[in-house]
């Protein structure tokens, strides 16, 4: 189980403060959800937490070790344990589905037998519901298929820490149901999941811990019940807008 802690994290882009002095600790082995209105900095905070974007200031600790000062071995070990599902899938355009899947395995399991890799890839794609050819390029796939492959790519190395940036958007209901079941399976295990789901019902069902964000700041943390009943009106308004009004702009 991996614990992630943010300490005074600020991120500025083009003179605009996108993340404003965020200090947060995600409980290990639990599913944490970042909720907030669109454009509040959820995706950016998720990427900073995963070490994909270096913050302008502040620190990110992984099991007590500063992610930004990790050496190559420590960093590679952290990546081997973690997976990231991108909002726009972010599949490598010049590689086939199979090549997209095999590359993380080649990096983290160089000694793994080719047949074993092949077996792992096929079973993972089957688990997310991908049934098309493995030789297709991302440009030849539908949005839903891309999301499936993106989730499969993140899970193929069997991570214990999973970051998911709105994994179920732009996915048709049948695919969404299959992927949702998979996420719930992951939730029931000891995996640490940090995500920003758009589906309020899934969010309510899955989250063990929630962080409410507004304008780049974390205004409240706790369980869904705690943040819903929060005394702070700003938190309450934000949570009710995101989780209880289907037409709210929570993305």
């Amino acid at each position: 189980m991996i614990s992630i802690k943010l300490e005074n994290v600020t991120f500025i882009r083009n003179n605009r403060k996108i993340i404003d002095n965020v200090s947060l600790e995600f409980p290990p082995g639990k599913t944490s959800v970042i909720i907030g209105p669109s454009g509040c900095g959820k995706s950016t905070l998720l990427k900073i937490t995963a070490g994909l974007i270096p913050p302008t200031s502040g620190k990110v600790y992984v099991d007590g070790v500063n992610l930004l000062t990790m050496n190559r071995t420590e960093l590679l070990d952290f990546r081997k344990k973690s997976g990231f599902v991108f909002q726009d899938a972010a599949l490598w355009a010049n590689k086939s589905v199979y090549e997209n899947m095999i590359l993380p395995l080649q990096v983290h399991f160089p000694g793994m037998d080719t047949d074993e890799k092949d077996k792992k890839i096929r079973s993972m794609l089957k688990a997310v519901g991908y049934t098309d050819s493995l030789l297709l390029r991302p440009a030849q796939l539908s949005n839903g298929e891309r999301k499936m492959v993106s989730l499969a790519r993140a899970l193929v190395i069997s991570p214990v820490l999973l970051y998911m940036d709105t994994p179920l958007t732009l996915v048709d209901p049948s695919v969404s149901a299959k992927m949702e079941r998979l996420i719930l399976d992951l939730h029931s295990s000891d995996n640490t999941i940090i995500s920003n789901f758009t589906d309020p019902s899934l969010t309510k069902r899955i989250s063990d811990f929630a962080a409410v964000m507004k304008d780049g700041r974390v205004i409240s943390t706790g369980t869904i019940a705690e943040i819903t009943d929060n005394k702070n009106s700003e938190t309450r308004d934000t949570v009710s807008a995101v989780l209880y009004h289907q037409n709210s702009n929570s993305v």
């Binding site: 990546r79 990231f84 991108f86 972010a90 490598w92 355009a93 590359l103 983290h108």
Partner: protein, 259 residues
């Protein structure tokens, strides 16, 4: 006004240090390729294929045409002044030392420099770079280093081919127009060709390769969010490649003639 100027200067100096840091990182990441198996080996192979092999036909065409023109002019014009032997020093100066490496560089800038900057820019915009990082793959090691090595190696090889086609291939073209005795031609060519010429040519193409690949990579990675930044950065990459290649050419030529 003064404050703005100061800020611009500080940013400029920071930019230079950032670029130098980037270049150093790319060169450092390229070293493991010489030691053993690398995950980016296939990327290196493909880069040599696209930058080197696929540019071979245009390089051959230009080199043979240029060489043939020099030989035909040389064997028909220079003997009138009693300087027929000058054909070979002129041929070697143009094909091997001066124009060959520079023409190869220009072709590579146009073909591969633009392609690399565009591809990397799009990789940044579509978050593919972040996906590499998330998968534990260092984009510098996996994307930049093989491209740096591939372009540099390709331009070195293409320069060699440019010389073969310019010095040897052009001879056969000349035979169709104004026959020249083969043994005499090759004997004289080999007696005028010096190791310094080959060294100068190789050094130039190596420098141009480093300049072109690093400029393209640097500006490709400099794209931040929008796809509209991509063409802007491609233009900058091409401009920087041209300018630094010409400056490097002038410096190496100066060193060659003042040694």
């Amino acid at each position: 006004m003064l404050g703005r100027l100061g800020r611009w200067f500080i940013d400029y100096v920071k930019g230079i240090f950032y670029a130098l840091g980037f270049f150093f990182k790319v060169i450092k990441a390229s070293m493991p390729f010489f030691r053993g198996r690398q995950i980016g080996k296939k990327v290196l192979t493909m880069q040599i294929l696209f930058t080197g092999f696929e540019a071979l036909n245009i390089i051959a065409l230009i080199a043979m045409a240029l060489g043939a023109v020099i030989i035909i002019q040389g064997v028909s014009l220079l003997p009138q002044f009693g300087q027929g032997e000058l054909t070979f020093p002129i041929l070697i100066t143009i094909i091997t030392r001066e124009l060959g490496p520079l023409l190869c560089a220009f072709i590579i800038i146009a073909r591969s420099g633009t392609a690399i900057a565009t591809e990397l820019g799009h990789n940044v915009v579509s978050h593919e770079i972040e996906a590499y990082i998330a998968s534990g793959i260092d984009p510098i090691s996996y994307l930049a280093a093989p491209r740096f090595l591939g372009v540099t190696l390709s331009i070195l090889l293409l320069n060699l081919y440019f010389n073969f086609f310019g010095l040897i291939g052009s001879f056969f073209i000349t035979q169709l127009i104004e026959p020249v005795q083969a043994t005499d031609y090759f004997r004289k060519l080999l007696s005028y060709l010096r190791l310094e010429d080959i060294a100068s040519s190789t050094l130039k193409s190596l420098t141009f390769g480093i300049i072109i690949s690093l400029s393209s990579l640097y500006y490709g990675f400099k794209v931040e969010q929008a796809s509209t930044e991509v063409p802007q950065m491609v233009i900058k990459a091409v401009g920087a490649s041209f300018v630094f290649s010409i400056i490097a050419d002038a410096v190496i030529t100066l060193i060659y003639y003042t040694r």
